[in-house]
């Protein structure tokens, strides 16, 4: 039982982690929480649905289309909304309000286009379970966990070892200085939005496989956001650890205490953690926040 719950928790945490890293990347560059990030996952999931039902593409192709869809919308948001607001020299709070507005727009638009109906992919998904010791583990959980692990490792490699990653870290550290040294700040920010959007797309497709696809599924972004705060906003490894912690905590609370109190525990953990250690577990730049 315990082992089984742990695997489920980690696999849920993996989906949170895919979104939470997106929050952290964007926060580290622009110092604002992109509230519409969860909707990119929703858009990715719906793109995959459209490709698999209307175009009748094979699953791998539909999933890739979902990832591309999330990335594209994320990029367009940055290109046409956030960039202009940044140029206005408005306070960061305005970026956040705009993101909230965008999130409303996407959620309502998908509600109008696809109706509130729950949808699932028209494929035979591996819903069977394997017996390991005394525990039954869902094949889907393991598959989703493996995909998450590969994607996150690629992300960490990209941030730490490539020229692009170096540019991003430089901008996060000091955007003005990075610009002086010849780094194209705006185009790198746009690339980060593409990257974050595609991660959200992966999360959306996986979430859609595990549960269903519905217009308000973007609210999972809220959980991911909490995870990235727990790990310390702006830190990618922190976001991953925070997401795993949150996923495991939620699964255990639902299993052993009460599933209706699950959200209460997540939010209470968030508040308590912020009061004790405002910078999160792996937080950077403490001075500004506490």
């Amino acid at each position: 039982m315990f082992f089984q719950q742990l695997i489920t928790g980690i696999s849920v945490g993996g989906i949170y982690a895919l979104l939470a890293t997106g929050y952290s990347l964007i926060y580290s560059l622009l110092d604002f929480s992109n509230w519409s990030h969860g909707e990119f996952a929703m858009i990715g999931a719906y793109t995959a649905i459209v490709f698999s039902t209307v175009v009748k593409a094979p699953f791998a192709l539909a999933a890739l289309a979902g990832v591309a869809g999330g990335a594209l919308v994320s990029f367009l948001c940055e290109r046409f909304a956030y960039r202009r607001i940044r140029r206005n020299g408005a306070p960061n709070m305005f970026l956040m309000i705009a993101a909230m507005g965008l999130s409303n727009v996407f959620q309502q638009a998908s509600n109008l286009i696809f109706t509130g109906q729950y949808r699932s992919y028209p494929f035979q998904l591996p819903v069977s379970t394997v017996k390991v010791g005394s525990a039954y583990i869902g094949v889907l959980d393991v598959v989703s966990l493996l995909i998450t692990a590969v994607v996150l490792m690629a992300l960490i490699y990209m941030i730490n070892k490539t020229q692009f990653g170096l540019n991003v870290r430089a901008i996060a550290n000091n955007a003005g200085a990075a610009k002086v040294l010849g780094i194209k700040v705006d185009s790198n920010i746009a690339k980060v939005f593409l990257l974050a959007g595609s991660l959200a797309g992966v999360a959306g497709v996986l979430y859609g496989m595990k549960y269903n696809v519905f217009p308000t599924m973007g609210n999972v972004g809220l959980k991911a956001f909490i995870a990235s705060v727990i790990g310390g906003l702006g830190s990618v490894p922190g976001a991953i650890v925070g997401a795993m912690l949150l996923g495991v905590l939620e699964t255990f609370v639902s299993a052993y205490i009460s599933s209706s109190l699950r959200d209460f525990f997540s939010f209470a953990l968030l508040i308590v953690l912020l009061l004790v250690k405002p910078s999160g577990l792996f937080g950077v730049d403490v001075q500004d926040k506490a």
Binding site: I85, M96, A109, V229, I271, L274
Partner: protein, 312 residues
């Protein structure tokens, strides 16, 4: 006493020929105006951002509902107690979270709002859980709501134009400078937070008295978002703008009934466009004035401005 009030309201409405549908719209406008005024003081004048005001609304609503139904408290006293209870909770919450800055304060508010909703769902004995709390006396008639809204506006206006209100504005513009001239920023922010929570609680109490039945789900994150949206549309830093924003946001969906599905879509778009092209909102930092309105239509205002510029 409620009966007497309702009778006065009924005769008043029949005198002016206001039907019950119109009464309902006016009551909802008044409730939204009160909640948005609280939000405006917090977001527009202090530049603190709270996703938890729906939580305070639900605290006010449930406190009033429980007091009137279980303990048969007079509704005026119950509304007062409900609003003050929301304020007390805000005082306690603010005391521990207002030292956090920007995003972090906002996140704790969001977490608080959601915690309240989940708790009200869970405490079935006290609140009826997700099945709702029925049988609240119908005390929010039109006349009473309008009186409340006018009173709320008057108090907020006096508050913003008092010494405390000016302190808040100075914190909004530059917190460090405000502290340097001797304003206790933490206490001023807490005052603004409590003020907005009391208003939210007040609006929640009226809401309970209007619908006579409340469920925790109607005070969710979307409600908080709606309050912020309305404040932004009305203008960050203008009380009259907030009132006009609240009226617009409540009345427009009634006028365009057939398009009510598109309501939140349009609000979202409006917010994004306003932030992009007119970040100060409809009214900006200005208050509504008849003089400026007339000037706008006769073109006198521009002339005066141009002269002023030349003078400077």
């Amino acid at each position: 006493m409620i009966e007497l009030f309702n009778n006065i309201n009924a005769s008043f409405c029949s005198l002016f020929g206001i039907n019950s549908y119109l009464q309902g719209v006016i009551i909802m406008v008044c409730i939204n105006v009160i909640a948005v005024l609280g939000m405006s003081v917090l977001t527009g004048f202090t530049r603190l951002f709270s996703f938890g005001n729906a939580g305070f609304m639900s605290i006010g609503a449930y406190a009033t509902a429980i007091l009137t139904v279980r303990y048969h408290v007079n509704f005026l006293l119950a509304i007062l107690l409900g609003a003050c209870f929301a304020g007390l909770i805000a005082f306690l919450l603010g005391s521990i979270t207002l030292r956090l800055k920007g995003d972090y304060f906002l996140i704790t508010c969001l977490g608080f709002g959601e915690c309240v909703r989940v708790l009200f769902n869970y405490t079935k004995n006290l609140t009826g859980g997700s099945a709702g709390f029925p049988g609240i006396p119908n005390f929010s008639n039109m006349l009473f709501s309008v009186i409340c809204a006018i009173l709320a506006f008057f108090i907020a206006w006096r508050f913003i134009h008092s010494k405390y209100g000016r302190n808040l504005v100075s914190i909004r513009e530059n917190e460090v400078a405000a502290e340097a001239v001797g304003i206790n920023a933490f206490r001023a922010k807490r005052m603004s937070f409590v003020f907005s929570a009391i208003y939210a609680g007040w609006a929640g109490a009226l809401y309970a008295g209007y619908l006579m039945y409340i469920v925790p789900a109607s005070f969710n994150l979307a409600k908080s978002c709606e309050l912020i949206t309305t404040t932004v549309i009305g203008g960050l830093g203008s009380l009259t703008g907030s009132v006009i924003g609240a009226i617009l946001v409540t009345v427009l969906p009634e006028v365009f009934r057939s398009m009510s599905n598109f309501r939140m879509l349009f609000y979202g778009l409006a917010v994004v466009l306003i932030i992009m092209f007119r970040p100060q909102g409809l009214y900006g930092y200005k208050e509504f004035s008849l003089k400026r309105l007339i000037g706008f239509f006769t073109g006198k205002n521009k002339k005066a401005k141009a002269e002023g510029k030349e003078g400077a």
